[in-house]
Symmetry: C2
Subunit: 167 residues, 2 copies
Amino acid sequence: MSAIASTDPGGKNRGVTADLALDEINKQIIEHLQRDGRMSYATLAKTIGLSEAAVRQRVQRLLDGGLMQIVAVTDPLTLGFARQAMVGLKVNGDLRAIADEIAAIPEVDYVVICAGGFDLLVELVCTDDEHLLDLLNEKVRTIKGVAVCETFMYLKLAKQTYAWGTR
Amino acid sequence: MSAIASTDPGGKNRGVTADLALDEINKQIIEHLQRDGRMSYATLAKTIGLSEAAVRQRVQRLLDGGLMQIVAVTDPLTLGFARQAMVGLKVNGDLRAIADEIAAIPEVDYVVICAGGFDLLVELVCTDDEHLLDLLNEKVRTIKGVAVCETFMYLKLAKQTYAWGTR
DNA sequence: GATCAACTCTGCGATAAACGCAGTGTGCCG
DNA sequence: CGGCACACTGCGTTTATCGCAGAGTTGATC
């Protein structure tokens, strides 16, 4: 459900998503929609071997439960609309709390808690360098517990795919 | 087009995408589909104020040209199907060539060329730790020019959103 | 400035998909 | 065994998608 943290800020779906069974059929549905998010319920049903209504129900449940979202993705850099950067943070204190605080910043589109040289990896989407500077200076580095803040400015996105399957 | 590097390995669309104009209407289309990738052409047309056929053409062009993709996205970690990691690389030699080489690895879902302490940031999706070890040991670190390879294992995805607008 | 080609839009009929709902089968628990 | 919850099917209705012909615009060429 973390993928849907943005659409479920309160995390009230945490119990719901945990209850949702991810059986073989749901995995197949996800795998197909990872390749083409607009695939019709009808063809999806045919390839999987289920009725159209059943597939429709399952997709709706996956979406409602926050296990999956179907969205348009673009490369902001190529479109010329953004200065993007990854920020590596070392922090003191409650990792989850700080992660949530950073996640609340609109310009932040990706936050992951990790092990290694950084505690947190944060991806930022800004309009320009000044915007990026503002963000780092006033929104990120001012958060209590942030000890180190290293910025990696994006020069070119070389690959971005979402069809990693379901294993 | 970089976002579609995975679906356009030869890069033959590079000219095409550069030609595609991203006017206000296309921006509106993208913004709506960033929120709901399955929104119907009809309602999209109504909210934008264009005929259904015109919107359909534009969406098709955006998809064909590789400026946008509509996909289902999930959080592999929460679904319990993957060990995910970000890898920071310092390399010698042609950045683009090495980026392309890494992008060709199926388990790699994200490659970005950047400035700062790392030249390349690479996101990996693996089934388990052994899979991750195999990848790092045999696919990533064996690439000529890779000097430093630092791995950040994901513990929890705290935010992931795609509706950053079009500015 | 007329002509032509390229492009995008509109309108519409035919086809296909989505939706809603009633009904059926199955597993589970008291 | 009976009752309940759940997921699936089948089908009629509504809605959307698709394909295409035609109209309007733009820009280049002669």
